[in-house]
């Protein structure tokens, strides 16, 4: 079984356009087990019930941004091992630094292409 068949991913973004774009890229890679949330708080709730392998989250969202989501995930034993990729429209070194301290696994800037996203994910989980 290829990794892409087993991999479960949660996409967190308040904007359905961005969400759809991420999901479309994932589907193009052959990843099927994709769930999504529209903000950090609801993602946290969903992940506490049903953890995934990898969270791909937007930074700027209402009701808990991406970094606060990351922090909360790392605090919960049930989710502290989850992979975390932060997506943001701008590269802010401060955000990246804090993200890294919190245990962010990778960062990708919007807009991205499918190969870029693939590279970003493979850097975290290995060959898809």
């Amino acid at each position: 079984m290829a990794l892409r068949d087993a991999l479960t991913i949660m996409v967190v973004d308040d904007m359905s356009t961005s969400r759809s774009l991420i999901i479309m890229a994932l589907e193009e890679m052959g990843i099927r087990k994709i769930d999504f949330s529209t903000d950090g708080a609801s993602a946290l709730q969903a992940l506490a019930q049903k953890p995934v392998h990898l969270v791909i989250s937007d930074y700027n969202m209402p009701n808990m941004d991406g970094l606060h989501l990351l922090q909360a995930l790392r605090h919960n034993p049930a989710t502290k091992g989850v992979g975390f990729i932060l997506v943001s429209g701008r590269v802010d070194q401060n955000i990246i630094n804090v993200g890294r301290q919190l245990g962010m696994n990778n960062f990708i800037q919007k807009p991205f292409t499918t190969p870029q996203m693939r590279e970003c994910i493979q850097a975290v989980v290995g060959q898809l």
């Binding site: 479960t8 479309m24 953890p51 429209g89 070194q93 696994n105 960062f107």
Partner: protein
């Protein structure tokens, strides 16, 4: 699966919502600017709207949009971080920037470039607010691994994750009601069952317990707070309480266990109020768990579902069929002579009510609030005010009023024109206003309200009012009325709606674009509406539009025209009468007029106009429907008899037959037959309008 094109569509839909949120937020800041009462959340929401548009736009390569959104975002960013104080002047620029953003989105949607226009100007004014590098978004390495971020690989345990890893702690607040005990349930059994699921801590609250003497055996006095650490799901925990549902207050909350870890300060993130204080145990699920008897409400102010409009229209069509079918069924029962059977007629009545309820609910789906429309108009006011140099305050009322989507769409042009008129012609210049003892800032009000099954939309200004002598003079000069006409004030006001009328002595940049109020009127009439005007010298002018709530049904009068059934919209009919022979006069060879209260009205025989009969029948045997256009031109439509007055479902003909002059649409009657719905005014014109009603104005005085 979604395709890129679908997502693009979603993006533009989302842009509309974001632009609306942007407008809302900016207006909120406007309102609070004087006393600085607007909240930082509002500024954040505004920022996020622009930021999200930029993000999406970048994905679709809409460079112009990205570039401008970036500039706008920089200003808003400065505002939310406190580097830039919100000022009235600054907000004006932000409003203009929002307008421009709107244009760019629209251009992007249609895949076209926006003409240079005012774009650079606004961009420059934005740049003037903050020291801004004149560059596009900094080109930063988009891919991981670069930009100084070393990725952190994960080792994945693919097997482990599919099950719930770890345990969950549930905090359960449980307060039995009297009914729980009365129905033979035992709280001890419930607690025992929970205990078997994991590690249970029980706390009982005995505060409610009265003195021993006062205890009533059947009463419930105790409540418990339970803490359960279990591998079971929340559903399983809830199942324990299955049999006591509704007989107790119950709250089950999942709490994430949180060993305190190293605290890392997060960057100040003003854009998101954090659910829990950072550093405290991570946020418990923000929506408190609901007790069982209350269904979980979706969070957020308005939960909405996006539905393809085609689906809604199909539903509306089917409901239309249902209504028709109901009418057919009623007719069948009637024909079979079964209507006097009590149970049958009761069921039929219920069916009719249900069909109507369903219809109304479905119509409500298509209904939209007029708010986006009003927001567009706010922009028109801003532009008009800037071009004409008149300080204008724009006030809206009844933004939540809901109207059929199509009607809203078709209102854009006429309303735009009316709003421009109000600013350009209605309001005086600031100097004139001050001279007249008014505040220099003029006021334009746009309001919407439901009024007896219709929607009333009013545009009013507090300007000088209609200059009636001037209007009269112009109408005479343009040959619209004879110089010796004696017109009442209302009649003079209505001259504005006559084709070819324009009062601006010089064609101004704004309104005088060759489109007159007559075009506004005909656009409104096409929607089944009426427009009227009231004015008070020195006080201002109000234009009122009255519209049907929907374009899917109308109240019609079902009439017989030479053996054919036709429907005349009730809204057009002023009165119905059976003329006496002496009231009918011949004018010329075959033109008839009927005298109604000393007013002569041209008679139009519908049978002749629609070719149902060759020669006119004897009018005195017929019924006359007096219809009136908003210019107070009247016609008398002659029909053979009136059958009924009822709500009919409108079936468009234009997609199949093109536009047939005089026919608005068709409908299906209870007996399954098709009847044409006529457009009275077009019918009058189609008949060659026998006599120009204008000429009759002269005869009236005789």
């Amino acid at each position: 699966m979604s395709t890129a094109n679908d997502i693009r569509q979603t993006f533009f839909q989302e842009c509309d919502e974001l632009l609306e949120a942007l407008d809302d937020g900016l207006s909120e800041i406007d309102d609070g600017i004087a006393d600085a009462t607007f909240s930082i959340d509002t500024v954040n929401a505004v920022f996020r709207a622009v930021h999200s548009i930029k993000g999406g736009a970048a994905a679709f390569g809409l460079d112009a949009l990205v570039h401008f959104a970036h500039q706008f975002e920089t200003v808003l960013d400065a505002m939310r971080s406190g580097q830039l104080q919100a000022t009235e002047e600054g907000m004006k620029i932000c409003h203009r920037a929002a307008d421009h953003l709107n244009d760019l989105v629209a251009a992007g949607r249609e895949n076209r470039e926006l003409d240079a226009g005012s774009g650079p100007d606004i961009a420059a004014r934005l740049a003037g607010l903050v020291a801004m590098p004149e560059s596009a978004p900094a080109p930063t390495p988009p891919v991981s691994g670069e930009g100084g971020f070393g990725f952190a690989p994960l080792s994945l345990d693919l097997g482990a994750i599919t099950q719930d890893s770890g345990q969950t702690t549930f905090v359960i607040a449980f307060r039995p009601h009297r009914a729980l005990y009365a129905s033979g349930n035992d709280t001890a059994l419930i607690l025992r069952e929970l205990d078997e699921m994991g590690v249970l801590t029980v706390e009982v609250a005995t505060e409610g317990l009265p003195d021993f003497d006062a205890i009533e055996a059947g009463e419930a006095y105790l409540s418990w707070t339970l803490r359960l650490v279990t591998e079971e799901s929340e559903g399983a925990v809830r199942d324990v309480f299955e049999f006591v549902e509704g007989m107790c207050d119950l709250q089950i909350e999942a709490v994430a266990d949180a060993p305190a870890g190293a605290e890392i300060p997060l960057p100040a993130a003003p854009e998101t109020p954090v659910a829990a204080p950072v550093g405290a145990p991570p946020a418990p699920p923000p929506a408190p768990a609901q007790s069982r008897d209350k269904p979980a409400e979706a969070e957020g102010p308005k939960a909405t579902v996006r539905v393809n409009l085609d689906l809604v229209d199909r539903l509306i069509n089917m409901v239309g069929e249902l209504v028709i079918n109901q009418a057919v069924l009623t007719q069948c029962v009637k024909d079979a002579g079964l209507l006097d059977r009590g149970d049958l007629s009761t069921s039929l009545a219920e069916f009719r009510n249900l069909a109507r309820d369903i219809q109304e609910s479905v119509m409500a789906i298509r209904a939209q609030s007029v708010k986006p429309l009003f927001q567009r108009m706010a922009r028109i006011v801003r532009e008009a005010a800037e071009l004409s140099g008149k300080e204008t305050e724009f006030v809206t009322e009844g933004e939540a009023t809901e109207v059929d989507k199509t009607i809203i769409e078709r209102l854009v042009d006429p309303l735009t024109h009316m709003i421009r008129n109000a600013v350009d012609h209605g309001l005086e210049s600031p100097q004139d206003r001050l001279a007249a003892g008014k505040p220099a800032t003029g006021r334009v009000t746009l309001s919407a309200a439901h009024r007896s099954g219709r929607v009333l939309i009013e545009v009013s200004d507090d300007g000088a009012g209609i200059n009636r002598p001037k209007v009269f003079q112009i109408a005479v000069e343009k040959g619209l009325i004879p110089p010796e006409s004696q017109l009442k004030d209302a009649e003079i006001d209505n001259l504005l709606f006559m084709p070819g009328f324009s009062t601006a002595s010089q064609v101004s940049n704004l309104s005088g674009r060759g489109v007159g109020m007559d075009v506004v009127r005909s656009a409104i009439q096409k929607l089944g509406g009426r427009v009227s005007i009231q004015s008070q010298r020195g006080k201002g002018t109000t234009m009122s539009i009255s519209l049907p709530l929907t374009l899917a049904v109308l109240d019609g009068m079902v009439v017989d025209v030479a053996g054919q059934t036709m429907v005349v919209p009730i809204t057009a009919i002023v009165e119905t009468l059976r003329p006496k022979p002496e009231d009918i006069h011949a004018l010329g060879a075959d033109n008839l007029v009927v005298s109604v209260r000393n007013k002569l009205v041209p008679v139009i025989d519908l049978g002749v106009v629609f070719g149902h009969r060759g020669a006119p029948a004897s009018i005195s045997d017929m019924v006359v429907l007096l219809v009136e256009s908003d210019s107070h031109t009247s016609w008398a439509l002659a029909v053979d008899q009136i059958f009924d007055q009822r709500q009919v479902v409108i079936k468009g003909l234009e997609s199949n037959y093109g536009h047939v002059p005089g026919v608005a649409a068709a409908t299906i009657l209870g007996d399954g037959n098709i009847a044409l719905i006529i457009d009275p005014e077009e019918t009058a014109h189609r008949s060659g309008a026998a006599i120009d009603p204008g000429e009759l104005a002269l005869l009236d005085e005789v």
